[in-house]
Structure formats: C-alpha cells, structure tokens
C-alpha cells in the first residue's frame, strides 16, 4: 500500500529529525574539549536551515533547467543560489554560537628566536665552505653564472615588440590630396560641415583596422572666419573656417567626442573641443591650445582645402605627432 509506505517514511523522517541519542558525557578530566549541555532546539534550527538551503540549491537547478522563458531569470538564479549559500552560512553561525563547545584557550606565543638552531644553521653553512680556497671568487662565479643564465632566459622576451623604434608614433595615413570621408566612406563636401556641429572623419580608402590607428580619425568643425585666431605657423590650415583636428586627446589618448559650441553668445564661453575622460579642453579657434584640464600639448591640426568639386581634402600632414605625449613627441614632425 503506497499510503502506508508514505506514512512509514514520514514517521521515520520525524524520528530522524527529532529522535536523538543521549550519550553519557565522558569524565571531565580526560576531555580535550570542555563538555557543554546539549541544545536540541538549536539542532532543530540548524537542520531546518540546512533543509531550506538545499531547497534553494534545488530551486537553482530547476530554474536553470526550465526557466528559459522566465522574465527575470538572472535575478531568480541569483536569489536561489545566493539564499542557498546564505542559509548554509546561517546554519553554520548557529552551530558556532550554540552547538560547538565555546572555549577560549591560552597559549604561549612562539619564542622570539631560536639561538641554538640559528647557531647550528650558521655553522653548517660556514663549515661547508671551508674546503674552498677562493671563497669570494667562487661566490662571484656562482652569482655571475646564475645571473647571466637568468638574463639569457629573459632575453627572448625582447621579441614582444619593438623596443627602439619611434616611426609608428610619428606616421600618419594623411597625404596631400587625400579626401576626408565619414564612417561609411562617403566623402565630405565643404558644404556638409555646418557651424555648431562636429563631424568624425577618416582618410579615404582606409580599412576598418586602419581606422583604429590613432592618427586616422579627425574631429571636423566650422567656425566663422572672423573668429579664427590661428597663430602664424598655422595660417592657411583652415578651409574657409573649416578645421580638422586630430580626434585623439594629447593627454591620455581618449577620443574627443564633446564639442561645446557657443549657442548663446556672448554669455557662453568660447567654442571648445573637450575630451570626456579628464576634461582636457582645447580652443579650436586658436589652433587647439589647451584652455583647461590636464593636457600638456596643443591638439594637432590637419591642414585642409576644398577642391574644385567641393570635396574636403588634406593639404599635408598634422602640425605635430598625434596622440598622448611621450619623450620624443616634440622632437619630430608627423610623417607620411
């Protein structure tokens, strides 16, 4: 009869849960751990917590197996496994507080030192070397050989990359006559560039990988010609007020994706190109000079012109190397 079997199982389960063996405590003087009275209520609590914990763990498995369509699967999984762990932890806390003998034991700290052993070790080391007649030379030889061997093992790490090479840091994909194109490769016309807006540009015909090079991307804006205050060395870099700056901040290499256009003159500050990483602020009207923030170098400017069909083209290369500063960044020009 299944009913009686269920009843039997329930009874035996209850006996397992509630029945407890009473052990006579051993005489006090032979024990390592002090005897303490039993706490059946705490045992029940622990068993309950462990049971709930395994229910939660089971719940985790069930949600994982069948919960694909649940709206908050990650949350439910997290609650299930998190509670399984936390209930287990709670059970252990009850064990710690109520069920294991709590004792504070005193003990001597280890001695500060062991002079006898120290003496023996020193003697063993010193006496082992007495056969050597040139001990210092010997040491030099050992450390010398060990050191050079170590160097030899480290040497192949030089292959990681170029150690003494600055060419990549100066080279840019820009040449005289190269057109400026947008993300999809469509060439910019001068008439596309409007005031109070800013544009992302690349050299025409670059692959996706080449677009990731620091010297490839530009931020292009247009300012009223009468507002330009370019220094003499940058005269002629703009095309009727259109300015093409390197998009990479000279401070820490982030992309300059903020343009503060003065929409409400004259209250608003001057137009500014801003890097959102550390808020280095560059004045596009004066040739990319730093007006605030940590950048220590002007933003490189690419000279541009408008061809006979109205397209924007590079007139040459940047006025300096692109990207964050390093020791040689002011020593060389940008190179094709």
């Amino acid at each position: 009869m299944p009913l009686s079997r269920i009843r039997n199982a329930m009874v035996s389960g209850l006996v397992l849960l509630l029945g407890r063996r009473r052990r006579r405590p051993r005489p006090e003087d032979t024990r390592m751990v002090p005897a303490m009275p039993p706490d059946p209520a705490a045992e029940l609590v622990v068993l309950g917590l462990l049971g709930l914990s395994s229910l939660c763990a089971l719940g985790f498995i069930l949600i994982y197996a069948f919960g694909a369509s649940l709206p908050a699967e990650t949350q439910l999984l997290g609650i299930a496994i998190g509670l399984a762990f936390l209930l287990f932890a709670a059970a252990l806390v009850v064990v710690a507080l109520r069920l294991v003998p709590t004792e504070e034991v005193a003990e001597e700290y280890p001695p500060h030192e062991h002079p006898g052993e120290q003496q023996v070790i020193a003697e063993v080391i010193d006496e082992s070397g007495t056969r050597l007649t040139r001990a210092r030379l010997f040491k030099l030889g050992l450390f010398g050989a060990g050191g050079t061997l170590g160097l030899a093992l480290l040497a192949p790490a030089v292959s990681f990359g170029p150690l003494f090479h600055v060419g990549d840091f100066l080279r840019t994909p820009w040449r005289r006559g190269r057109r400026l194109v947008d993300e999809n490769g469509r060439p910019y016309k001068a008439s596309d560039i409007e005031e109070n807006d800013f544009y992302l540009a690349f050299p025409e015909g670059t692959s996706d990988v080449e677009k990731e090079q620091m010297a490839a991307s530009l931020v292009v804006i247009r300012l009223p010609v009468d507002q330009l205050r370019l220094p003499p060395r940058l005269k002629g870099y703009d095309a009727h007020g259109i300015l093409a700056y390197s998009r990479i901040c000279t401070h820490a290499g982030c992309a300059i994706t903020l343009y503060r256009a003065p929409l409400f003159q004259p209250d608003e500050p001057r137009p500014a190109l801003v890097c959102p990483c550390h808020y280095s602020t560059f004045d596009p009207a004066t040739g990319g000079t730093v007006t605030f923030g940590p950048a220590g170098r002007d933003l490189p400017l690419l000279p541009v012109y408008v061809d006979s069909r109205g397209y924007l083209r590079a007139k040459g290369n940047f006025d300096g190397p692109v990207g964050p500063s390093w020791w040689g960044v002011r020593m060389w020009k940008a190179q094709p």
Binding site: Y64, A68, T74, Q75, L77, I79, I81, G82, L86, A89, A90, L92, V93, A96, V100, P101, T102, E103, E104, V105, A106, E108, Y109, P110, F160, G161, P162, L163, H165, D168, F169, L200, K211, E212, Q213, M214, A216, S217, R247, H251, A252, C254, A255, I256, T257, P276, H278, Y279, F292, P294, A295, G296, R297, G323, P324, S325, W326, G328, V329, R330
Partner: protein, 467 residues
C-alpha cells in the same frame, strides 16, 4: 571510527603532530580580524567564477559583425571577437550573466576587503616587528590585485574598457625616458597594438597574476600562522607572551566556513540582483569613440581623480619631453601612496626607536602620531578620489566642473593636514580622559579602603569598584 580515519591518515602522511597543532591554532576573537578572511573568500569566488568565464571568453580583437538576434541594438555592428563573446556570454548563455556579474562584484568586494584589512593593520600597529614581512606581502598583493582587476576590466573590450585601457597606455607612455619604449614593446606597436596584445593580457589575467596572488597569499597566511595572530589586550590573560583565543577546531571552524559561505552567498545575491557593468549598453570600443560621464570601478577612482586634477603642462627640456602630464596623476601618485605603505614600518621604527617584539595591538589612540598620519594620507587619497567624481557632481547638483577642480587643487593639500591635526588632538584627549577615569577609580578605592580600616564600612572587595 574517527580514530581509525585519523590513524589511516597519520600512518600514510606522518602528519598527526602538524594536524593537531593546526586544529588547536588559536584565533583571538575580534570582528576586525575577519576583514582579511573576507578578502580570502572573495578571492575563492573570483577563481571559481573566473574559471567558468574562461570557457566562453575569446581572447581576440579580430573584427566580427555581431549577428546575435538576442540583442537587436548591436545587430550588424562591427566589434572585436572578445566583446562579442562577452555579450554572448551575458545575454545568450544560461546563468552566464549571473556568473559574470558575480565575478565583477567579487572583484569589487575583494579589493574593498583588502583595503579595510589594511586600515585595521595600520591603525593597530599590527605590521610591527615581527610581522613586517607579512605586511609587505599584503601590500604587494593589493598592488597586484589592482592591476589584475584592471586587466579583467580591459579584456572585455567594450567602450568603457577601451577608454580605461588607452588611459593606462598613456600613463605607461608618460614614464620618463622609457615610457615609449616600454609601451611599444608591451603592446607590440603604438596603441591599439597588435593582435598579440589580447592573448598577452588574457594569459596575464587568468594565469600569471592569479598564480602570483595565490603564491603570495599562501606565504602571507603561512607567516601569520608561524608567528601566530596578534591580539588586543581585552582580558588580563592577553599579554605579549600569552595568546588567548578560540581554537581552529571546533570553535573557529564553523565561524570561518560560515563566513566563506556567507561571502559567496552575498556575492551571488549581488551578482543576480544588482546590475554591474552592463557592457551591451556601452557598445564596442573604437579608438575614435568615447562617452561622457564614464567612471571606472571604485578602486581606480583615486587615479582618475589624480589624472584630472593636474594642471595643463608637460615638463620639457628643449624639445625633449621629460615628464608627460599623465605621469603625475597616474603613476607618481600611486607610487607615492604605495611607497609610503612599504616604507611606513621602517619610518616608524626610525623615528620611535621601537625595535621590540609586538604581539599586542595598539588601539588607534595609543599611537596618536601614527593615527594622525594614517588619517592624513587616507583623506588625501579620498579627496583625490572625490575630485574624480566632480563630473557626476556637476551633472547631479549643477556645481561648475571647473570651479570644483580649482577648489580640489587647493583642498587636497590643506584638508589632510587639518584632518591629521584634529585626529592627533582627539587621540590625546581620549588618552587624557582615560587617565582621569583611572585616577578617579584609584582615589575612590583608596578612600574606601581607608573607611574600611576605620571600621566605617563592612569589608568588601575594594577591586569591585574597578570597572
């Protein structure tokens, strides 16, 4: 039964003496001693969840087009295989997001626990002889953990992680004289480097750094056990020579294991319920894209603050750029902080002439100068951390960003000195108040003794007055 098992093990391993010692190793009872344990258990969770993540992560920056129909906003976008694999893991692998978020939360909790543990060690003087080695290992682990966490954050190759990586690259580039050579070598070319970069970062994140941290952790714990724990002097039995504590078994074991299981539970709850770094919202990284209002994980907040506070200049001699700007906030600042941490035990010994063995801990008030310097340094780092959040303050409260930065540029140097002095004064006052209480108790018991002698009061325990 127990006897037979123990016998079996001992006969085969000869480890009974060692096991006996380990079972009865004493743990002095104080809540602050658990901070280091939380770090340890967070590390366990990190390793466990990290192993799971490696089964799905692809360490390649090869460009692919995203075709996962489970997330339409990214459909058709070009991105690296690495980023695509993490988006897939997060949105299309069952329980993948839970494990990834738990991993990320565990990293945050791991470093927080180490830092709090460090505070406890510092302010109680636990690093003093004979435990300097333990302390230096701990500080080294903190440094390695910061780098390890940064690597993990960078590997995902989402927009935020790429912005973090290029900033780190620029800080490396700014190291005087050698920066360009070092970064060119490490990245195999100028940023964004060669296709070899990602496998390098990956193996560093999942093998080299975890093994280094694991080895140092083992040495750290071994040294703690060899010299035994320090202890506060809370009971008369606790002296420089005698340790009083709960044995590892049975007293400490359920507490420690409970703490481990509890830490894991909390981290999984966080991983399931509190969203962290939803990388599919950030989109893929390109050198030409960035976003406003980006903030790193909390443990790098002090560095972004440092980078943002430095005024505009590169230190140059002629055309030679000696110190590019990011060096100050990104390299010099953390070097000074870690230099201070490494040198402190030596500095303190130098100025106090204290060469004694210390098993008893100080309370912060017992060493006013140390406590004052500690508070000064912490507030210095914390103010720089706050400066890093100026853009969020600007958005939330509308206080001008530029004015905030100018205020911080001054306050960062002034306030730590003020906090240090106030701390020193507070410690002194606390000490003085204890002297007053002690003297009052002594006088009261003396008076009572005198009355007793004159027969005006029944004999009692004069010590009973002492609280």
């Amino acid at each position: 039964m127990t006897r037979r098992a123990v016998r079996w093990v001992d006969q085969r391993t000869a480890s009974a003496p060692l096991l006996r010692k380990a079972l009865r190793y004493l743990f002095p009872d104080h809540w602050s001693f658990l901070l280091g344990e939380v770090a340890l258990y967070a590390f366990v969770v990190l390793v466990a969840t990290g192993i799971y993540l490696t089964f799905f992560f692809v360490d390649s920056t090869k460009e692919v087009v995203f075709h996962g129909d489970y997330y339409p906003p990214l459909y058709g976008q070009k991105m690296s295989e690495a980023y695509a694999s993490v988006v897939h893991l997060s949105l299309a692998v069952r329980a993948g997001l839970l494990i990834r978020q738990t991993h990320h939360w565990a990293a945050n909790v791991f470093i927080a626990a180490i830092v709090l543990h460090l505070f406890r060690i510092f302010f109680t003087g636990a690093y003093r002889k004979p435990r300097e080695l333990t302390y230096w290992l701990g500080v080294t682990m903190l440094m390695l953990s910061l780098l390890e966490a940064y690597l993990g954050y960078s590997l995902v190759d989402d927009l935020m992680s790429g912005m973090g990586l290029v900033i780190g690259y620029s800080v490396g580039l700014s190291l005087p004289f050698v920066g360009q050579n070092l970064m060119n070598w490490l990245f195999d070319g100028m940023f964004p480097g060669s296709p070899r970069l990602w496998p390098r970062m990956y193996i560093a994140h999942v093998l080299i750094f975890p093994i280094l941290i694991g080895l140092l952790l083992g040495a750290h714990l071994l040294l703690v056990a060899m010299r035994h724990h320090t202890q506060f002097r809370r009971k008369k039995a606790q002296t420089e020579r005698t340790i009083l504590g709960v044995p590892a078994f049975p007293g400490q074991a359920p507490r420690s294991i409970g703490l481990m299981v509890g830490t894991a539970g909390l981290l999984f709850l966080l991983g399931g319920l509190v969203q962290i770094n939803p990388i599919w919202l950030w989109g893929p990284y390109h050198t030409y894209s960035s976003t406003n209002g980006a903030q790193p994980d909390w443990y790098l907040g002090w560095l972004i603050g440092g980078l943002r506070l430095v005024p505009s200049f590169d230190f140059t001699i002629g055309h030679y750029t000696v110190v590019p700007n990011p060096f100050w906030g990104g390299a010099a600042f953390p070097l000074v902080v870690f230099g201070f941490l490494y040198l402190w035990p030596w500095l303190e010994r130098r100025f106090t002439g204290d060469h004694a063995f210390h098993n008893l801990l100080d309370r912060p008030r017992d060493a006013p100068v140390r406590t004052a310097i500690g508070v000064g340094v912490i507030s210095w780092v914390f103010l720089v951390f706050l400066a890093g959040a100026s853009d969020r303050v600007n958005v939330t409260f509308g206080i001008g960003y530029v004015s905030q930065i100018w205020v911080y540029r001054v306050v960062v140097w002034v306030l730590p000195v003020v906090f240090g002095l106030v701390t020193w004064w507070t410690c002194k006052e606390l000490q003085a108040s204890e002297v007053v209480v002690r003297e009052r108790h002594a006088a009261e018991s003396e008076a009572r003794l005198a009355r007793m002698r004159r027969g005006q009061e029944p004999p009692g325990d004069p010590g009973a007055l002492e609280v």
